[in-house]
């Protein structure tokens, strides 16, 4: 009896999938998420939990190192596919399942693109806004399977405990696993010389000289914490491959325990130019002179807010309504009639708004008064809310309820008020949101910081300055 084969097929039926969205690939991410829900595949929160790596969109230039790290961090058996076009999602997941069932581990992600026609992909990027381009899928394993296998043959083997390959490389830039060094022997016995060593301890605080590096990882330094104690402090990047995190956003944070001491944006990869940010597309098109109906724009706004609400609920650990919000979002984007969706949407928004526990858990977090928001150039829901995390959630819920009734409006779009704010200002709305939320993060605990970020939900696709049509 082929036990390994049986197990492989068990894995292949519903593999947990780590979905990574590249900047600008919102459309592809949504397609993959909808397909995952349809198939009932669980999504993995970390590479360790995943059997399949699905990359939505393709990186513009070099394949980033963090993606390589993610792939190396996944335990075998594993497979990888990239979805370069929203229409390919279903096929790509089929391929992934096939790769897992046959045990033909996909090659490393960076090897993939070499086997695919680059010119075709380049062309596809231009006309992607149009929707139905030719089928272009990036899949691994398939044709170069033998070569790839030969290369890595020495390390093949299921359940091999050879840790070298499975180690957590999702460190680096893309990772969220920062590591404390434990190897360096400096600072030994420095207990007695504490005061004399003051400068030494300052390292992390100034961000200037880091304590040194062990095993290729920066060590923790020390700095004053919010209670006036002098505790260890670790610098690490958050994102871009965290689950329920804005695609492509990377924050450089300093952590003490699980309290954020500082947070800055790490200049990341920009969304590819020449493509409208998905969520503000209708308004930008209208501003560009195309004919867009208000109904279509409201549909997009409704879906956008449902996406944000789904993400917020997922971050706050309430999977069921999160899944419902995402399911409704997918139905809206597939053109479901307003009359069919509206009752369910209302049931969801009312249920979430009524939840006392959620209000109790999110009250008082990330206060942004309307006045301050206005100064920072924030427009849209965050300005309307002018309050804490829960207030912003409630504004989303209200706007969803309004939009869902306006989806049949056939008049042309006249304003520029996108789902995240006005698109005709000098600053892209998501940029203003990020500027407003970063000062709210220091002093917050990790879970609170995630909630604050999720309650603004900036869309990095808008960063590229696409605020202007």
């Amino acid at each position: 009896m082929d036990l390994i084969g049986v197990l492989r097929r068990v894995v292949a039926r519903r593999p947990p999938v780590l979905l990574v969205a590249m900047p600008g690939a919102t459309r592809e991410r949504l397609a993959v998420e909808a397909e995952l829900t349809r198939r009932g595949w669980p999504s993995a929160a970390s590479p360790a939990a995943a059997a399949g790596l699905v990359v939505a969109g393709l990186p513009g230039g070099e394949r980033p190192r963090w993606l390589e790290g993610l792939w190396h961090g996944m335990p075998r058996p594993k497979a990888h596919v990239a979805v370069d076009h929203a229409g390919d999602a279903s096929h790509a997941l089929g391929v992934l399942s096939g790769l897992l069932a046959t045990g033909r581990e996909g090659e490393a992600p960076w090897a993939v693109s070499t086997g695919s026609p680059r010119e075709a992909r380049g062309a596809g990027r231009q006309d992607r806004g149009g929707g139905q381009g030719a089928h272009r899928r990036q899949e691994t394993g398939g044709r170069d399977e033998r070569g790839g296998r030969g290369e890595r043959g020495g390390r093949e083997g299921h359940g091999s405990t050879n840790g070298r390959d499975g180690r957590s490389e999702w460190g680096g830039r893309g990772s969220h696993s920062g590591h404390h060094g434990r190897d360096g022997r400096d600072g030994l016995d420095s207990a007695h010389g504490r005061d004399g060593h003051g400068g030494h301890g300052e390292a992390g605080g100034q961000g200037g000289h880091r304590e040194g590096v062990t095993a290729g990882l920066p060590m923790a330094g020390r700095a004053d914490d919010r209670d006036g104690l002098r505790l260890d402090r670790l610098h690490l990047p958050l994102g871009p491959a965290l689950a329920d995190w804005p695609a492509g956003l990377v924050l450089d944070v300093a952590l003490q325990g699980d309290v954020l001491q500082s947070a800055e944006e790490h200049p990341g990869e920009a969304a590819p130019a020449g493509r409208y940010p998905y969520w503000s597309e209708p308004w930008l098109r209208a501003a560009g002179g195309e004919a867009v109906t208000r109904g279509a724009a409201e549909r997009r706004r409704c879906a956008s807010h449902l996406d944000s609400v789904g993400r917020f609920l997922a971050v706050s650990g309430w999977p069921r309504p999160a899944a419902r919000a995402r399911g409704l979002r997918d139905r809206l984007l597939h053109g479901a009639a307003a009359g069919d969706v509206a009752p369910e949407v209302l049931r969801l928004t009312r249920g979430v708004a009524r939840s006392r526990t959620l209000r109790w858990l999110t009250r008082g977090l990330g206060e942004l008064p309307a006045g301050r928001a206005g100064e920072l150039g924030v427009t849209g829901p965050a300005l309307t809310a002018g309050g804490d995390v829960h207030a912003r959630l409630c504004v989303w819920l209200r706007e969803i309820e309004c939009s869902v009734h306006r989806m049949d409006d056939a008049r042309a779009v006249a304003d520029a008020g996108g789902p995240r704010g006005r698109l005709d200002g000098g600053l892209p709305p998501s940029r203003a949101l990020l500027d407003a939320l970063l000062p709210l993060l220091p002093g917050a605990e990790f879970a609170c910081a995630r909630l604050v970020l999720a309650s603004f939900d900036p869309d990095p696709d808008e960063f590229a300055g696409a605020g202007h049509a």
């Binding site: 404390h180 420095s190 207990a191 301890g201 060590m219 020390r222 006036g228 505790l231 002093g443």
Partner: protein
């Protein structure tokens, strides 16, 4: 026979992991070596028939060590105690002190005039121990309990960075406490 084996195994483990507390160079390992040692001591007490004391030692020491481990990691002088560090300080003085104390206690064990056993063991040794400890001195024990508790409260009061006036305002009338991370009740 079985009891003897268990006794010697537990004792060896207790002493061995006690030594490892000073040999390990990681705070977490040292803390949990100490926990292992204390768990073995708890086991020894159970072996003596003092079930309650033994199990309570397992319970309390586990909680204590789990919390202590975090504090050890948090407060260590080199970055976070995450870098390997020696657990030994003032080696000569400590060695002399330890030898002295050990000799003193060993001498006490050897030289004390232990009374011969009179009567048989109680059916419930825990109860017997409790009564002989507490029975005639309930007042002392209660006073001691209050003294210990008020010491804890006083220490926390002296050490705390923010008191109730910082949290609830000078007249303590604020509806919601002003905390860096708001709590669930607001008091």
């Amino acid at each position: 026979m079985l009891d003897d084996t268990v006794f010697w195994v537990l004792s060896a483990l207790a002493v061995g992991s006690g030594i490892m507390v000073f040999r390990f160079d990681s705070m977490a390992r040292a803390t949990y070596a100490l926990l292992l040692s204390l768990l073995c001591v708890g086991g020894l007490l159970i072996l003596l028939g003092l079930d309650y004391l033994g199990v309570v030692i397992v319970l309390m020491m586990t909680i204590e060590m789990a919390i202590m481990g975090v504090f050890m990691v948090m407060y260590m002088m080199n970055p976070a105690g995450l870098v390997p560090m020696s657990m030994l300080h003032n080696k000569k003085g400590a060695a002399a002190l330890c030898t002295g104390v050990f000799l003193l206690m060993a001498l006490g064990i050897v030289l004390a005039p232990w009374p011969p056993r009179a009567g048989t063991a109680e059916e419930d040794p825990t109860r017997a121990l409790g009564e002989s400890l507490m029975g005639p001195q309930m007042l002392t024990m209660m006073t001691l309990g209050f003294a210990l508790f008020s010491t804890i409260v006083a220490t926390v009061l002296l050490a705390t960075h923010r008191g109730r006036y910082d949290r609830l305002g000078d007249d303590l009338r604020a509806r919601r406490a002003d905390d860096p991370v708001p709590g669930g009740v607001g008091r």
